[in-house]
């Protein structure tokens, strides 16, 4: 009796989880499907799911009209650069918060997180002016710095929770063994935190890749990443849903693949410390 209820329960839970999963995935699936339709089928009412003539014409059109490789390259530089820069800054910051906390450490952590609650548009004006003054508007350097700063609180938080799990005695042992602070971080702390650093890296690449507000507002042509590539197919062109979908699919494909292969890492990174 008890067994059958658990089995039933399990089946229900599984079905429920699949339902939620499909619901979340549906917009992406729909985008991908639409990208293989002709413009006419794309706006057909009622919508067509699979029974349409598959075509690659949108992809050819998009590739002909825009320089996909350049947008892709900008995205890689900006997402990768901001993440690496963020990690370099966040490792020492998280180290000090985790292992030599002061009375204010908790407050600082909360304060850092609180910056994420501010609507980005609130600081658009000052940052835009700052960019003009510094001459870094529409440059990859400028965007890399802004995205690094935007994601830094999350990077620090994630590394902080990871470092907290490393027993302090092991670092003390390294100190007793004659390791300097630098050697302690390089030989002991970093290797022990590799899984945590890896999932932090991944999450931040994804966040930076998908970031659209700053990348759209602070770039024009030279430094424009894939978000701008998608945007260029929206409103001014009218209702070209199929081409817009093709552009979107091409923009999210690399990160989708990356996310798919690293989902185990990501989940363990995001739930780290939650069970203890």
């Amino acid at each position: 009796m008890a067994r059958s209820t658990t089995t039933q329960r399990k089946a229900l839970n599984t079905a429920f989880a699949w339902g939620i999963g499909l619901l979340i995935f549906f917009p992406i699936l729909w985008t991908i499907l639409t990208s293989f339709k002709t413009e006419a089928t794309a706006i057909a009412d009622p919508p067509v799911f699979v029974g349409f003539e598959w075509t690659l014409e949108n992809y050819t059109a998009v590739l002909e009209r825009s320089n996909y490789a350049r947008f892709l390259w900008n995205s890689i530089i900006i997402a990768g650069g901001s993440t690496i820069l963020g990690i370099i800054i966040a490792v020492p910051a998280a180290w000090s918060m985790a292992f030599v906390p002061s009375k204010r450490t908790k407050d600082i952590l909360m304060w850092m997180l609180s910056t994420k609650m501010l609507p980005a548009v609130g600081v658009l004006y000052p940052i835009y002016l700052l960019f003009i003054k510094l001459g870094i508007l529409d440059t990859r350097v400028g965007l890399t710095i802004v995205l690094m700063l935007i994601n830094l609180p999350i990077i620090v938080w994630m590394l902080y929770t990871y470092f907290k799990e490393i027993p302090g005695e092991i670092l003390e042992a390294a100190r007793m063994d004659g390791a300097s602070l630098r050697e302690e971080v390089i030989y002991i702390l970093t290797p022990m935190a590799i899984p945590g650093i890896a999932s932090t890296l991944l999450l931040n690449v994804i966040l930076a890749w998908n970031e659209a507000f700053w990348t759209l507002n602070l770039t024009a042509a030279k430094a424009a990443p894939l978000t701008a590539f998608i945007a260029s197919y929206s409103s001014p062109e009218g209702l070209f849903y199929a081409k817009l979908s093709a552009a979107s699919t091409m923009a999210i494909a690399p990160i989708l693949v990356l996310g798919w292969f690293s989902q185990k890492q990501l989940v363990s990174g995001l739930t780290f410390g939650a069970v203890k």
Partner: protein, 335 residues
């Protein structure tokens, strides 16, 4: 060389003074044990010597060099932690080699010392394993190996055996004592277990609430404890204390008598008592008795060999007069 001198060393965490100023000298080659109940400041004192905590005032000298502001890495001391604190991402070999790598010792010398240490510690078969694949005793050996190879001025042990099971603990205790005999290096050993203290130490430092109660050899502490706290802490089972009339007879506020210094008889003696729990171990008999007229009290009696009494039997106790410890109202020893 490893002579360590603490000169008016104190430690406060915020407004809380955990160690009031104290003086202590640990001679070169000496096996010193810091012992005391939990929270007495013994581990903090060790960490001050290690340099893992900064002292609030005073001076620490290692071989007459002022080490007060020297970082732990430069003090030339090795430490074995309660949790072993091995590097989980490194093999046993790399764990042991780590301090030598930090010291920039040549590779062939490193290999020679690893070979010597792992042979002595029975670890040669495990060199390529990770700490996670070792048992508790093996991990503790690796931690000791890591401490040995750097040839420190002194070893610091912070309750190294408390995570091991009882049988292993006795074995490791002997190994550490053997190690000290062989290396003749200064060792400071922190424990709350007075048996470890008694069996291993050349010198025991008894601490309570950050204050040194007494320093002396194990037998000095056993024979002439300077106050009631030391008398009660050293020795197993614990010393029996009597106050009131029984003590007044000896001109003291309280008297202490060790369980092994009570003569017991079933027919006659100084004090009549009823047997409570009786533990028959064959080699010894431990009796927990309730003295007549004061049934709420429990006195412990240790008798060599078997002594056939049972719960509820009446026995008579006679203390050995020359082995009675007398204390005044402040708990200090009356000579």
């Amino acid at each position: 060389m490893g002579r360590i001198t603490l000169d008016q060393v104190s430690k406060s965490f915020g407004d809380v003074e955990v160690i009031p100023p104290l003086d202590l000298t640990i001679e070169d080659g000496e096996f010193t044990v810091f012992v005391g109940p939990s929270g007495c400041g013994k581990s903090t004192l060790l960490r001050l010597i290690a340099g893992l905590e900064d002292i609030t005032s005073g001076q620490i000298r290692i071989d007459s060099q002022d080490a007060t502001n020297v970082p732990p890495a430069k003090r030339g001391l090795a430490m074995v932690f309660q949790s072993y604190a091995l590097y989980p991402h490194m093999s046993v070999r790399k764990n042991i080699a780590f301090p030598m790598k930090m010291a920039g010792i040549a590779q062939d010398e490193q290999d020679r010392r690893i070979e010597a240490a792992t042979t002595a510690l029975n670890l040669t078969d495990y060199l390529d394993r990770r700490p996670g694949q070792l048992s508790g005793g093996q991990r503790q050996r690796v931690a000791i190996g890591r401490a040995i190879v750097r040839e420190p001025a002194a070893f610091l042990f912070d309750e190294p055996l408390s995570n091991l099971d009882a049988a292993l603990r006795v074995g490791m205790r002997l190994e550490i004592s053997e190690l000290h005999e062989r290396l003749k290096t200064t060792m400071i050993y922190v424990t709350h277990d007075q048996v470890e203290a008694m069996t291993m130490a050349d010198k025991i430092v008894v601490l309570q609430a950050g204050v040194i109660e007494q320093v002396g050899s194990p037998l000095e502490l056993y024979n002439t404890p300077c106050n009631r706290f030391v008398a009660g802490f050293i020795g197993s089972p614990k010393m029996n204390f009597l106050e009131g009339e029984a003590a007044a007879k000896y001109g003291a506020h309280s008297i202490g008598i060790r369980p092994e210094h009570l003569n017991i008889s079933t027919d006659e003696g100084a004090w009549k008592a009823t047997v409570g729990v009786a533990e028959h171990l064959g080699s010894d008999t431990f009796l927990y008795v309730h003295p007549e007229g004061n049934e709420g009290e429990t006195m412990t009696v240790r008798v060599d060999g078997e002594f056939a009494v049972r719960h509820g039997d009446t026995v008579f106790l006679t203390p050995r007069e020359d082995l009675i410890h007398k204390f005044d109202a402040e708990g200090l020893r009356i000579p």
